[in-house]
Symmetry: C2
Subunit: 356 residues, 2 copies
DNA sequence: AGCCTCGGGTTTTACGTATAACTAGAAGCG
DNA sequence: CGCTTCTAGTTATACGTAAAACCCGAGGCT
């Protein structure tokens, strides 16, 4: 007696409820095969672009046209399952409110889009957080990872995954990284130093970031080295978090101290430079006549403030693009060389000849 | 006759080449089942949290502990294939270089992370582009879409997908949208008008965006209405693209025209306000003594410029968070009500009493 | 006793794809 | 001719999971 028949209802609604009209059950490769009068395998071969000598041009075209008229689109979950991959990469950055990373992200997404890859974003906890596992919280299965050096804490968990890892704005030859892509920070700082030395400046304040990552260490080292060659050039360092307010505070403090009054302030970032300019104004100093200030990164605010900031323009989008391209290369089995992208000093209104 | 036994070799190297040491073949639910001495189905039931009366607490615990010690993590591609979904949502915005959208994105990602969803970003072509199909370029299979009103062009393709769609910063009751989430733009503009009227201003310049989307239309309408009640209040409108430079140009032009010299400039965005301030300074006007200026959004540059901008603070992250939460609700079959998030006027240095 | 229910599982199947292994006919060839 | 090789496919299987359908022993009810 075949009971168990009378409960028929709960078969539908395979989708929780939403999605409205259930988007009329997409066509599968089998549907295409039926329409084209071939086997499913043949469809797969044709769609996979790997049918060089396996399928005749005639049938290939038949398959393609059947696919087109059915609006066939491969089910990517199935393909991923079969191939053991995900077409998804993780981008790890500390915060998107930082315009630099927002631009890097833009670049990453742009080339990911070209390659049919999805980018899922993981916001690394801001230093304080317990650096929870990205794989637990994000969609967990990934093909590769792009990470900023400023997100170093999260890297332990990532390394554990054994995934291809491209480091951005980070130590070239970073251990465990499959590739690295950086703006040429050192050269940027050299350009700044050259520019200011050429204007006659000798006493500098280096307004540095208070966090200790590659990108900032390089700035400091490059500055020291660039100044070494010039007799009488001295530099004092003050550290501050990367905000306008902190830059202002740190500058006020540094300028209040006796001795070694700088004629130029070299900042690790534009926000610090903006703060420095504000501080100078409050102290009655005129920028750039009394005091030169340089920024770094070339954020939007660099041209919003007055005078506009002389700063080093970092190719943020290009970093993202190159990083994503490098990751694609790694995924394809190639091994890209470390890249250092050129930067350039943009001379605007905050630097001038040193007072004599 | 059971032949077909003798072929054993060509089984390995399932991964194309990359990935280095092949990350030691992850444990599957079957491995867990074997370890726990149960069937694969039982593992699936236990891990799926849907085993209320189907599995005893004893075996459930056995399964969990086996899973833990094997480091089992479900293969999401397989789960997706089975369930016909993707745990991936698409966020459509015009650009991330716009700080507002970067912050919205941050909010979206934050709550997506909580729900184990991935966010893939689609950058809608900047108005000029041919609005290519997001599904072709991005990872194509999605559970839902979040879109900004400024990305309206791409919506046709999205609507075609029949996916749940949450509109951000957009017309409530937007056709085809499953939900909408906006900052309360109208109220923000009312607060601006009230503030300036209270300071004695009567002649206004409205420095507006040149693009025609909900968020900007609302500003204009709210401003007109707020001014309607006050005798003698007049407003002229000037349009410009949302950049500092264009704001500067538009302001210079507007102030150069004879008649109706405004005492206050109300801007649709902070970047326009920054431009307006620069223009005023060039014309020898002192902000705020001679001219008041207000912004909108409260971007980072609002506090970087001097004087700092009086502006309407939009809860960008909250918009992203609420939007993502609404999408999750829709995915769960609920129907969230349209949300209007409160905004607040932040009074800083660019507004003061009108000259008498 | 005969029957149903119910707890606690197991077996089986399906999701849609990619590809290894097989096959059949045609051609090459000494 | 008898052998291999090439072309153009087909068949069969596996990927890892979710869940429907089945199964079995122990009570419970009448």
């Amino acid at each position: 007696m075949t009971s168990g028949e009378e409960k028929a209802q709960p078969r539908d609604e395979r989708w929780p409820t939403a999605r409205g009209p259930r988007a009329g059950a997409r066509a599968t490769s089998r549907d295409v095969a039926r329409a084209a009068g071939v086997s499913q395998a043949t469809v797969s071969l044709v769609m996979g672009e790997k049918w060089r000598g396996r399928v005749s041009e005639r049938t290939a075209e038949a398959v393609r046209s059947a696919a087109r008229s059915l609006g066939y689109r491969p089910n990517l979950a199935a393909r991923d399952l079969r191939l053991g991959r995900t077409r998804t990469v993780l981008l790890v950055v500390p915060a998107l409110t930082n315009e630099f990373f927002a631009r890097v992200h833009t670049g990453v997404v742009r080339v990911a889009q070209e390659h049919g890859l999805g980018v899922v974003l993981y916001l690394s906890p801001g230093g304080t957080g317990p650096a929870q596992d990205p794989f637990a919280s994000a969609s967990a299965t990934l093909d590769g990872v792009l990470a900023s050096s400023m997100a170093a804490e999260a890297l332990g968990a990532i390394r554990g995954g054994g995934l291809p890892l491209v480091m951005l704005d980070s130590d070239p030859g970073h251990e465990g990284a499959s590739a690295t892509v950086n703006p040429d920070i050192a050269d940027g700082m050299r350009q700044v130093a050259g520019h200011l030395l050429g204007l006659g400046h000798r006493r500098f304040l280096h307004l540095a970031s208070d966090i200790d990552t590659w990108t900032f260490r390089v700035r400091a080292r490059a500055l020291t080295e660039a100044l070494r060659g010039t007799a009488g050039a001295t530099v004092r360092t003050e550290r501050a978090p990367l905000t306008v307010a902190d830059g202002l505070r740190a500058t006020e403090k540094a300028l209040a101290e006796p001795g070694h009054r700088p004629t130029a302030i070299i900042c690790d970032d534009d926000v610090l430079a903006a703060g420095a300019c504000k501080a100078a104004r409050r102290l009655g100093l005129h920028v750039p006549a009394d005091l030169s200030v340089t920024g770094f990164t070339d954020l939007a605010l660099a041209t919003a403030v007055e005078p506009e900031l002389t700063t080093v323009q970092l190719p943020a989008e290009a970093v993202g693009e190159a990083g994503m391209r490098a990751l694609v290369a790694v995924l394809d089995g190639r091994t890209p060389a470390p890249e250092a992208l050129p930067v350039r000093l943009v001379t605007r209104g905050t630097t001038a000849h040193a007072r004599t």
